[in-house]
């Protein structure tokens, strides 16, 4: 995926260390967000069919829910939701969402909104931007320091 300028600028604005961990990244996002984040492992029944992740914005904190799966993939889902936060997406009002969940009764009046990561393609503009930034963040997270070659390796031509 070609990295957009928005993604590059957003990643740069985070001032992350050279080889950040996921907690470094979460810390930076929380700082920009101004609230703490709580992460929840979800299921297909709690998130909805075809939904892999969800960010719920409440007045006091944010909740990031991700579908249980392979670790790298679950992290990517989290990165996608963090990207919504970083890109300043406002989300949709929570009213009527997920009838049986804890938040179903909170409603719009408390300023609660949500965004999700669906696997339906094509993505709309906001989802596409969030997904692009998620790949950009993943690239930063998975970057590994180059192991410095020993003298013998250099001489041997490695």
């Amino acid at each position: 995926m070609q990295q957009t300028k928005l993604t590059a600028d957003t990643v740069e604005s985070l001032n992350l260390p050279a080889y950040p961990t996921l907690s470094d990244l979460v810390g930076s996002v929380e700082e920009k967000y101004g609230k703490t984040l709580i992460f929840e492992e979800g299921t297909v029944s709690s998130l909805g069919e075809g939904v892999t992740g969800q960010w719920i914005d409440t007045p006091s904190h944010g909740i990031v829910r991700y579908l249980r799966g392979a670790k790298a993939w679950s992290i990517h889902v989290v990165l996608h939701e963090l990207s919504h936060i970083l890109l300043g997406h406002k989300g949709k009002p929570l009213d009527g969402l997920i009838g049986g969940s804890f938040f179903s009764g909170i409603g719009k009046r408390h300023g609660v909104s949500w965004m999700c990561r669906a696997v339906d393609l094509p993505l709309d503009e906001a989802e596409a931007a969030a997904e692009n930034l998620a790949f950009g963040l993943a690239r930063v997270l998975h970057a590994a320091p180059q192991k410095e070659a020993t003298k013998a390796e250099r001489v041997f031509g490695l």
Partner: protein
């Protein structure tokens, strides 16, 4: 065997030259390999010995030039390996590591050669002329110097080494140099038996026959050993493993997961092959594939593709750490 050694060493030389010019690799063994290629070329691999020798006067000077090339090449290999294994440059102060040493060695080989009664180009120069004392001395001095140099390389190549590619390369070079040293000693025994006529024709025949497989087997192994580091470097730089996985996944899953047209699928395979960062594209592929695997059921993944996905997935999983250990996770509901 000499032909195989020539072409392998030539390939190693070309790859190393490319790595030096393109990626700034060390030039340590470049001259050694280049001169080694010249030495093997003078063995009549591509152009017959008689044709080359005719250009040098037609009196077997080719034999001298070839042997000097081999001696200089082994001396340079030894110098490169000492440079790699030594903590500092103090080894360079030793006499045998100074350029004057190889110049004197060249003279020690060339002087007796020049004292012989020169004859026309001979395909078996040493067996045909070893009765001449200058030729016997020339060949013995050459083989002795070569044996000493080869043994020196052999010994240092067996020293402990942390880096696996360097260790493997060194061990293969050591095996090659061990064979060269053995061949050199064996050739001295053969020439001595011929010169003073001892051992009888059968022993002399056995000694004669043994030389080529030992010597050129050694050259072949040395060539292979010196080819290991550039091969490893090229493997790493080209990210061959990731590229292969990406191409394979695109080929096997591209149409199923993305519903690509045949032309788009072919273009996608080509793009995977030429990807500047196969690792990044592989990650993207893994995520997309997992989306389909996890969220959209009913799409079968071929067994082999599934295994490749799992292996790549495991590599990315290992790079970031556990979610539970880095995130304030609530219990699933």
């Amino acid at each position: 065997m000499i032909t195989a050694a020539f072409w392998i060493l030539t390939a190693v030389f070309v790859v190393r030259l490319y790595l030096v010019t393109r990626w700034g690799s060390s030039t340590a063994f470049l001259a050694a390999i280049g001169i080694g290629v010249l030495g093997l070329f003078l063995g009549g691999v591509v152009v017959p010995e008689a044709v080359i020798d005719a250009h040098l006067g037609g009196v077997n000077v080719l034999h001298l030039v070839r042997n000097l090339s081999v001696t200089i090449a082994v001396w340079l290999i030894r110098d490169g390996i000492f440079a790699a294994y030594s903590l500092d440059a103090s080894y360079q102060s030793r006499f045998t590591h100074r350029p004057i040493a190889i110049v004197l060695a060249a003279f020690a080989i060339a002087i007796p050669f020049s004292c012989q009664r020169f004859g026309p180009t001979a395909s078996n120069f040493v067996p045909e002329n070893v009765q001449q004392l200058p030729v016997f001395i020339y060949a013995t001095v050459y083989m002795s110097i070569l044996a000493l140099l080869a043994m020196s390389v052999f010994r240092i190549c067996l020293q402990p080494q942390m880096s696996l590619p360097v260790r493997v390369s060194s061990r293969v070079v050591a095996a090659g140099m061990g064979l060269v040293a053995l061949a050199s000693v064996e050739e001295i025994a053969y020439m001595t038996a011929m010169h003073i006529d001892v051992g009888g024709p059968s022993v002399q025949k056995v000694l004669y026959v043994l030389f080529s497989p030992l010597f050129y087997g050694g050259v072949l192994l040395t060539s292979l050993g010196l080819g290991i580091p550039p091969a490893v470097k090229a493997w790493r730089r080209l990210q061959v493993r990731d590229r292969a996985a990406l191409v394979f996944l695109t080929a096997t899953l591209g149409r199923t997961y993305w519903g690509l047209s045949y032309a788009a699928w072919l273009a996608s395979i080509l793009a995977s092959l030429c990807a500047s960062s196969p690792s990044a594209r592989l990650y993207e592929y893994i995520i997309r594939s997992s989306d389909h695997k996890v969220a959209l059921s009913g799409r079968a993944t071929p067994v082999l593709a599934g295994r490749v996905l799992d292996r790549v997935q495991a590599r990315f999983d290992g790079g970031v750490g556990s979610l539970e250990s880095v995130l304030p996770v609530r219990a699933a509901h």
